[in-house]
């Protein structure tokens, strides 16, 4: 058990270090810009005096480490400064949108994980059959599709031709939960289709990898049925890589929402990021990048830790 705790602690420390470096990169990338925020804010009306006053006000005259730590502490406390474009507090802008994005990712995850696992086990069970080949071809195809293609195909059929779902998912906090889920379903479905393919292929591959091991052969020789062998002997041992791939795909879900949000005009963080990039609203870009990166690193970290924790060899050391 000690060994596991030690490895987990190591990973956590490494994760924290990565976060720190990433925050440094995001901070300095912005500081490499020619000119500074003040010149951007004041625009045409700038004079040396106003720029100097503005710099004092935004504390830009302080040395970089001072500014960096103020910025970092601010982000940790939820204070991310003001948007250049709208002059509103960024935390206020981001708050609701982050919730929406996480909601979308959650719905997509609930839709995709069970389907992917069941399909993965089934294709491993009936591998090289017609069913397996069809599913494989379908998933390969859906991996090859650009995300916006999937999204527009869904809009074309489910929203325009058959009218089952709205093609624009404008949600607001005062909607009931079912209405929210209903309006979120198309973007969530888009994300799911992409993620299911990855997860299912990995599940299938990791189970098939195990089928060559001696203990599976033993189980087969005992005369157990194929489904019993796969569900009771192969699956528990394939759990570590499967959990790993599921969590990594969840990380992808949080990040991959950008395209889906833009297509469906979903008021999430991804759309805010894209808007801010085209407006060059750097503080917002900085803050949303930081949030995305943090989520991504955190989920990858979880994947690492779970992979260690579910490894039978580490759980029961000799």
């Amino acid at each position: 058990m000690d060994k596991i705790l030690k490895m987990v602690a190591q990973r956590l420390a490494l994760g924290l270090l990565t976060m720190f470096v990433v925050s440094l990169i995001i901070f300095f990338a912005v500081n490499m810009l020619p000119g500074d925020v003040c010149q951007e804010i004041l625009g045409q009306s700038q004079t040396p005096e106003t720029v100097a006053a503005c710099r004092r006000e935004l504390k830009l005259d302080l040395p970089w480490y001072d500014r960096y730590f103020t910025w970092l502490v601010g982000i940790l406390q939820g204070d991310m400064g003001r948007s250049l474009a709208s002059q509103r507090e960024i935390s206020e802008l981001i708050g609701v949108r982050l919730g929406n994005t996480l909601f979308l990712a959650l719905v997509a995850a609930i839709m995709s994980v069970p389907v992917a696992l069941v399909l993965g086990v089934l294709t491993a069970l009936y591998r090289n059959s017609l069913f397996d080949r069809t599913i494989n071809a379908l998933t390969l195809t859906s991996i090859s599709f650009p995300e916006f293609f999937v999204a527009y195909i869904l809009i074309l059929f489910l929203a325009v031709n058959w009218g089952w779902f709205p093609s624009i998912s404008n949600i607001s906090p005062d909607l009931s939960i079912w209405e929210r889920i209903y309006r979120t379903s198309l973007p969530a479905l888009t994300l799911s289709l992409v993620v299911i393919a990855h997860m299912m292929r990995m599940t299938r591959a990791s189970i098939i990898n195990l089928l060559a091991s001696p203990y599976i052969e033993m189980a087969n020789l005992k005369g157990l049925s194929r489904s019993h062998v796969i569900v009771h002997h192969a699956l528990p041992n394939a759990l570590a890589p499967i959990i790993n791939v599921v969590v990594i795909n969840l990380a992808y879900l949080v990040v991959g929402v950008v395209i889906a949000e833009v297509v469906f005009v979903y008021p999430g963080l991804g759309q805010l990021l894209v808007d801010s990039v085209s407006k060059r609203d750097i503080p917002v870009v900085q803050a949303s990048c930081m949030i995305f990166a943090a989520t991504y690193i955190l989920l990858n970290l979880t994947a690492d830790v779970l992979a260690i924790a579910t490894n039978p060899r580490l759980m029961h050391p000799r």
Binding site: I25, I259, V263
Partner: protein, 400 residues
């Protein structure tokens, strides 16, 4: 193996005249192509002359070293003549674009040469791989000869907005009244060539870094490895958005970076991290081999070890990775363009074409989906070919 034993082992070599005559014919054709507008654009014509000579020399050299057969020669010569025949029939279009014609000819000949060279492997390829190869070939030819095939020019406004299919405009017109088919064809050229250049750059950076890391070890390995770890810790689309917003209008020594160059470099650097991982892992296995040790003892430098010892042995996984990376870059690039941050208008590009005309979809019109379909078809094709290639190279290894 010496040349004489090779000769006796093979069936009689085909007549050398086939290659001589066809290279001379091609040479002559290219000369006419470039010289016909000598008056209009003298320097371009002279540049074309030089290119034609260089090309003939290269083809002759390569062809001479090829393991040849009469059938193979016939295929190459026939395909070349076919291309020239088509060019002569539609001479007024082809002659307008000498460089595109030249490039198309190059593609046809290169494909013919490669097909003959690798015919033994190709014959056993499954139908999916053939499908992929045909799709790739089609795209490459369209991309190469875009100005010749396209009915109008890239940014020309030829009609009113959103015209229907048929008539003068085969696929209608877009949101500004530009011909869809033309935009699609030019989009193939722009999107594919930029994705290809980006992938090449990513491979250059990634493979060089990975091999250096594997060959040098120690501090180099540690530093490069940690840098890549950090780069990979940030999701690439988000990172690309951050970098694009920062370096837009950024200037070095008073020169503004061209947005296309910026795009290519950013995607290549972000993508090279994946290549680095693979190249390093493969390189690590090769560096410990005896023959690398021997070459080091012989006193060869680092460059020799990387290019002559590691690279040839790391080729199969890298080639397969190239295909997958190309797909990834291609999708990434079109996603960025779709978000309005990639290839900038008025350059035709598949991602932004979908975005600009997306409103048509809510009327049940599928025209805006055509570029997306084109993207999907190409990625599927490349995936199929990579699958086959991986299967073959790993299968060969199992045999031994």
């Amino acid at each position: 193996m010496t040349a004489t034993t090779m000769d006796s082992a093979l069936p009689a070599r085909p007549s050398p005249w086939a290659s001589r005559i066809s290279v001379a014919a091609v040479h002559f054709f290219v000369l006419v192509l470039f010289l016909q507008n000598l008056h209009a654009d003298t320097w371009l014509a002279i540049l074309g002359l030089v290119a034609a000579h260089l090309y003939s020399v290269i083809v002759l050299l390569y062809w001479r070293n090829l393991e040849r057969s009469t059938a193979g020669d016939t295929v190459i010569v026939a395909l070349t003549l076919e291309f020239m025949l088509i060019a002569i029939i539609f001479w007024d279009r082809f002659s307008l674009w000498p460089w595109s014609t030249f490039f198309g000819l190059f593609i046809v000949q290169a494909c013919a040469l490669l097909a003959v060279r690798f015919w033994k492997g190709l014959r056993k390829a499954p139908p999916t791989a053939w499908f992929g190869l045909v799709v790739i070939l089609l795209y490459v030819i369209i991309a190469a000869t875009a100005p010749i095939i396209a009915p109008f020019t890239e940014t020309e406004i030829v009609g009113s907005e959103y015209e229907a299919w048929g008539g003068k405009f085969l696929l209608g017109t877009d949101n500004l009244g530009r011909d869809w088919l033309t935009r699609l064809i030019y989009g193939a050229r722009n999107t594919i060539s930029i994705a290809f250049i980006t992938t090449c750059l990513a491979f250059f950076i990634g493979a060089l870094g990975g091999f250096l890391s594997a060959a040098l070890g120690g501090w180099t390995d540690q530093i490069l490895g940690r840098v890549v770890d950090v780069l990979m810790a940030i999701p690439s689309l988000i990172f690309a958005l951050l970098l694009l917003s920062i370096f837009k209008d950024y200037s070095v020594f008073g020169l503004t970076i061209h947005p296309m160059v910026l795009l290519v470099v950013i995607i290549a650097v972000l993508d090279s991290t994946r290549v680095f991982r693979l190249a390093r892992a493969v390189g690590m296995n090769i560096v410990v081999m005896d023959y690398v040790e021997v070459s080091r003892l012989r006193g060869e430098g680092m460059w020799w070890v990387i290019t002559r010892e590691i690279l040839p042995n790391a080729m199969p996984p890298l080639v397969a990775e190239f295909g997958l990376r190309f797909c990834f870059v291609f999708l990434f690039l079109s996603a960025l363009s779709f978000l309005g941050l990639g290839i900038q208008p008025p350059t035709a590009d598949w991602g932004s074409m979908v975005r600009d005309n997306a409103t048509l979809i809510s009327f049940g019109d599928i025209t805006p989906l055509l570029p997306a379909m084109a993207i999907a078809l190409l990625t599927i094709g490349v995936n199929f070919v990579v699958d086959w290639f991986l299967h073959q190279t790993s299968g060969l290894r199992d045999d031994h």
